[in-house]
């Protein structure tokens, strides 16, 4: 039995390779994800181990309740002296290092970062790690040194006068030195670093003198790190966090690795899509193989093979295919993981990659996924094979058309289960994990629709094929595509998945975009808007002084600068906003008071939206403690409540509080003009005022909306390109199905050629069959995708996505793409069909 199986496997190489390819791609993404994360993880480990090599013990303030690890209180300067007093301390250095120091490059633009921080630090001298390459250390208040990576990115050199944005608006500095790191490195993992003199760093990065971010300690000879750590901790008390250098580097690395899991999820997401489509492909291939081998399998049964042996033989084939696909996929995954790691290293500005290794998890996942998917997909065909009666060996049985009742009922059940899960997940009734419920719903919906497809395929394929019926080869192609509804359905369903995902995402993003635009058009009563596109983790900001200067311009009625941050409000973390002129809430954003006074806001007062008031049980006069990122905790009194609206922050604090925000500068400005003033007249004047704020521009409202929604467009393009992969796999499926059909119908093709069908006509017939199947798949995908997209949009109605936009143009493109996919997929099978030797095909044996 085993040998018979292997032989039949080898005889079917090509089609198994085609179907195995989908598994290869899926496994590739799975193992690629593991290899990438492993490589980058070890690279980060190395970077931090290096960065903290000279640090034996590190002291920082304990993070405040409710705030993240990054938002620590500074360490008072006198602590450094206290640490120096501890036995076993050789040296203690106060360090300033905070994110948000942005250099304006020689082209006048801010040097951006796509992930690694942009640190502003105090110069504490060279070390084993830090080496001054050019120039000298900063001595005066307006002198800085920058790392070589940043100097290259900004195209600046020693002696240049440059602008730097920090907590404070742009200030000018002279670059007096450029430094690098041991091993000839220009940066540590792509981090941009600007080093000031200590007092300047304290002022610009921490907003206060006589404080440090942390204190690094070197142990005296013969003193163990953990011993010293315990001693310092004991001396300083509970307000401080004391760690050894090794602990610190492990913590820092772990934080970055958490960020990496985002990449991992994206890759695993695509792996899931590839594997889902691949499952359809394998199911189809094995079904066809079993159908073709009916006589052979019946003969085996007739000579005494048991049902289990038949199942075993088909499953064994699947195992072989799965194993091979897993091996190839793992190999490809290592390649793609290495490539992505390399790209990531380059993009982030020079992360030194650790050697590529294959973690055990990648191997386990590759074989687990590859084998399980293949075997599960082959199980159904295997069961069917075991039901072939021995008598089939003696009869010339055409596979009878089995009724579609069972499959349709199952399809309806699965689809409705999927829809229910989606409803629960999207409606927020899922309780536990909403995301898993939604994904499960989507998966079940796909499977359910795939099961329903055979039933739908008859009328739809008939209708679609009608287009080609004027032409005899077209008519034959149409009839062929309707011949085996299950096979057609499953082939089309594979394409459906990709198209549905693209359509769904497009519906959601287009609806979001339209809703945002509509909202901004209707609700913002400002003719000009100051803002920029966010490219990294930090939003673009500008000098608050611009707001006052703009307000003084002729023709300007009102200017509001918007600030925002998340903060610990009461016992919950939430978004808080502040506005340079609180009257803009009513004048520009149309806020309506439901209680108290919202036109004024005192130093200790706050405004809340009606939603927040309701959920927290607040009323005018209630007091709420607020912990901001960079300020002492403070209690505010609710002085007014406004009706909740999309454009209004849930909580508005006085503008003075914005000094305690992570980013204490306005991120957007709204300018209302006096009646009769032309926006074009004021715009250049505001532009002049923004000369020192290169991150933002001033634009009319339409251009601002365009600018704000552009990232959505970019995101959409990116997702569409990535999902093309699923469509490529589906093309493999169509090629597979057609190639098998051509093989099965060799005699028929011979007959057709004998009665005068030309080569071109033969190819036309196959192409029509392919196009009918693929366009059917595309239409199904568009329908399912629109449904899923609409469901999500409906669920997000409360979040402000009120418009449902169906992307008709994109849908048209996808139908076109479907047709193109059909034509491409038909090429090889059509050429094969046209080359069939007429005599060989019809001569009876």
């Amino acid at each position: 039995m085993f040998r018979a199986t292997l032989k039949s496997l080898l005889a079917r190489k090509l089609r198994l390779i085609l179907s195995g390819l989908a598994v290869v791609l899926g496994v590739m993404f799975v193992s690629g994800a593991f290899v990438l994360t492993d490589t980058l993880g070890r690279s980060f480990d190395a970077v931090f181990a290096d960065a903290y090599e000279g640090v034996d013990v590190n002291v920082s303030a304990r993070p405040k309740e409710g705030l993240s690890d990054f938002e620590r209180e500074p360490v008072p300067a006198e602590t450094v002296e206290r640490i120096r007093g501890v036995d076993g301390v050789a040296e203690a250095t106060g360090i300033v290092a905070a994110d948000g120091a942005r250099l304006i490059g020689s082209n006048g633009k801010v040097v951006t970062s796509f992930g690694p921080p942009q640190l502003g630090e105090n110069w504490v001298g060279v070390s084993d790690l830090v080496q001054l390459r050019e120039g000298r250390e900063p001595q005066a208040d307006d002198e800085i040194v920058v790392n070589a990576g940043l100097a290259k990115a900004g195209r600046v050199a020693v002696g240049d006068r440059v602008g730097v944005l920090t907590l404070e608006p742009k200030q000018e500095f002279t670059i007096v030195g450029i430094f690098g790191f041991s091993g000839g490195r220009d940066s540590l993992g792509g981090t941009n670093e600007i080093m000031f003199t200590t007092p300047v760093a304290q002022q610009l990065m921490l907003g206060q003198r006589d404080a440090f971010t942390n204190v690094t300690v070197t142990a005296a000879d013969g003193v163990a790190d953990d011993r010293l750590r315990n001693d310092i901790a004991a001396a300083l008390g509970a307000d401080f966090e004391v760690k050894t250098g090794a602990e610190l580097s492990a913590d820092a690395s772990a934080t970055l690795k958490d960020g990496l899991s985002f990449f991992n999820r994206i890759l695993l997401g695509f792996a899931a899509v590839a594997l889902l489509v691949g499952t359809f492909l394998i199911l189809n291939t094995f079904s066809i193989i079993v159908a073709q081998r009916t006589r052979e399998l019946a003969l085996m049964r007739a000579v005494g093979a048991g049902r289990r042996q038949i199942i075993g033989s088909v499953v064994l084939e699947a195992v072989a295919v799965g194993l091979l696909a897993s091996v190839l996929g793992l190999g490809a995954g290592v390649g793609i993981g290495a490539l992505l790691a390399y790209l990531f290293g380059n993009l982030s500005g020079g992360l030194d990659l650790a050697g590529i290794a294959v973690p055990p998890a990648a191997v386990i996942a590759a074989f687990g996924v590859g084998l399980i998917i293949t075997v599960v997909a082959a199980l159904l065909p295997a069961l069917r094979a075991s039901r072939i009666p021995p008598i089939a060996a003696m009869q010339d049985v055409a596979t009878p058309d089995r009724p579609l009742t069972k499959v349709t009922v199952a399809g309806a059940a699965v689809t409705s289960t999927g829809a229910t899960l989606l409803f629960l997940g999207l409606g927020g009734h899922a309780g536990g994990d909403t995301l898993i419920t939604i994904l499960g719903g989507v998966l079940l919906a796909f499977i359910g629709v795939a099961l329903l497809t055979p039933l739908i395929s008859r009328p739809v394929v008939g209708l679609l094929g009608g287009i080609f019926s004027w032409w005899m080869p077209g008519k034959l192609g149409r009839l062929n595509s309707g011949r085996n509804p299950r096979r057609t359905a499953i082939t089309a369903a594979a394409l459906m998945v990709g198209i549905a995902l693209v359509t769904g995402v497009t519906v959601i993003l287009d609806s979001t975009k339209s809703s945002i635009s509509g909202l901004a058009q209707d609700k913002i009563k400002a003719e000009l808007v100051i803002g920029g596109s966010q490219t990294g983790p930090r939003p673009p900001t500008f000098d608050p002084a611009v707001l006052e200067k703009t307000a003084a311009l002729p023709g300007v009625a009102l200017v509001g600068g918007a600030y925002g941050d998340s903060a610990q409000v009461g016992d919950e973390r939430t978004w808080v906003g502040a506005n340079s002129d609180v009257s803009t809430l009513t004048q520009i954003f149309g806020a309506r008071a439901t209680a108290g006074d919202i036109s004024r806001l005192g130093q200790d007062q706050m405004l809340v939206s009606s939603d927040v008031a309701a959920s927290r049980g607040l009323s005018v006069g209630s007091t709420v403690p607020v912990q901001l990122a960079r300020a002492e905790a403070k209690t505010y009194t609710v002085s007014g409540i406004y009706e909740a609206a999309e454009l209004l922050d849930p909580i508005t604090l006085p503008v003075t509080a914005a000094q305690g925000f992570t980013i204490p500068q306005p991120i957007a400005g709204f300018i209302q003009l006096t009646p009769g003033t032309q926006a074009a007249d004021v715009l250049p004047r505001v532009e002049t005022l923004l000369a020192d704020s290169p991150e933002v521009t001033v634009a009319d409202r339409e251009a601002f909306i365009e600018q704000q929604t552009k990232p959505l467009d970019d995101l959409l393009r990116m997702i569409q390109i990535l999902l093309l992969l699923a469509i490529v796999i589906a093309v493999l499926g169509i090629i597979n199905t057609l190639a098998l059909s051509v093989l099965e119908r060799t005699r028929e093709l011979g007959l057709l050629r004998a009665v005068g069908l030309g080569r071109a006509q033969t190819m036309g017939m196959i192409t029509v069959e392919a196009v009918v199947i693929s366009v059917f798949g595309a239409l199904l995908g568009i329908a399912v995708g629109s449904g899923l997209g609409a469901a999500v949009v409906e669920a997000l109605r409360d979040e402000g996505i009120t418009d449902l936009v169906l992307p008709w143009a994109d849908m048209g493109t996808m139908v076109g793409l479907g047709a193109l996919v059909g034509v491409l997929a038909a090429v090889i099978p059509a050429v094969r069909a046209a080359r069939i030797d007429v005599l060989g095909a019809i001569a009876h044996d």
Binding site: A398, M472, P473, K475, L476, L479, N480, G482, R483, R747, E748, L751, L752, R753, A754, V755, G756, L757, G758, R759, Q761, V838, L839, I842, A843, H844
Partner: protein
């Protein structure tokens, strides 16, 4: 040995000095050894011979399904030898009709669509009067909307005959058309073929190994070992059987 044929009618198909050799060296098989033969218009000719005599090969070569190693084949005014795929396709479309032993019909098409298939492929309209006549002759009027799976073997083969007839080809080649049918259904098909020759002047060349089937023809050509060895005009089943027996004996003696 070359058969002499009646010159009274014009040839619808002709083979001159046709050789067909398969393989090379040790594995070489000579299927046809210089066969020259004419098939007159409006006559029903049967090709007979023992297995391996080359009768099927001769028919395939005549119909342009197989190429000849040497010699020429022509159908009507057209020289088949040397035609490319496009030429052969056109020849099959316009001048040749086929009836095979099995797998004669497309399962997706109805009987009527199958009958009209060659015309549809060629993009021609059927002559309604002739279509009616053909349908009448094969007696399938009430079966036209049925698919092959709903027809008996005999009915299927009659549909195949109608398909071959409806485009009025120069010549119809039938390859063991009754091989898969029981004797009653076979007789019906053969009667129908003879009627189409007698009443409508169709030319038919049929390969068979069944003397009873051959007896329906106007003339029987006998092949043995790749050569034409004998022929009978106005055969009966008995004369055909006798000739076959003689041929078998010769072959045995030859061995």
């Amino acid at each position: 040995m070359t058969a002499t044929v009646g010159r009274q009618a014009q040839a619808a198909a002709r083979a001159s000095e046709v050789w067909k050799v398969y393989g090379t060296g040790e594995a070489q098989v000579i299927a046809l050894r210089g066969v020259t033969c004419e098939f007159e218009q409006s006559r029903f000719t049967a090709i007979m011979g023992p297995s391996g005599s080359g009768k099927s090969t001769l028919m395939h070569c005549l119909a342009g399904l197989d190429s000849v190693t040497r010699g020429t084949v022509s159908i009507g005014e057209t020289t088949v030898t040397g035609l490319g795929d496009a030429g052969l396709t056109k020849l099959r479309r316009d001048q040749v009709g086929f009836i095979f032993q099995q797998f004669n019909l497309l399962p997706t098409l109805t009987a009527k669509e199958n009958i009209l298939l060659p015309l549809s492929i060629a993009g021609r309209k059927p002559d309604p009067a002739w279509f009616d006549t053909v349908i009448e002759t094969v007696g399938l009027r009430d079966r036209l909307g049925h698919r092959p799976a709903q027809l008996s073997g005999g009915q299927q083969q009659r549909v195949a005959c109608a398909r071959a007839l409806v485009s009025r080809p120069q010549v119809i080649f039938a390859d063991e058309p009754t091989g898969n049918l029981d004797s009653r259904a076979g007789a019906e098909v053969l009667k129908f073929l003879r009627r189409s020759v007698r009443e409508h002047g169709q030319t038919i060349v049929m390969v068979t190994h069944d003397p009873t089937a051959a007896a329906y023809a106007d003339r029987v050509v006998f092949l043995a070992d790749g050569q034409i060895v004998s022929e009978l005009i106005e055969p009966t089943a008995e004369t055909v059987l006798d000739t076959m027996k003689k041929l078998d004996t010769q072959v045995e003696v030859g061995d």
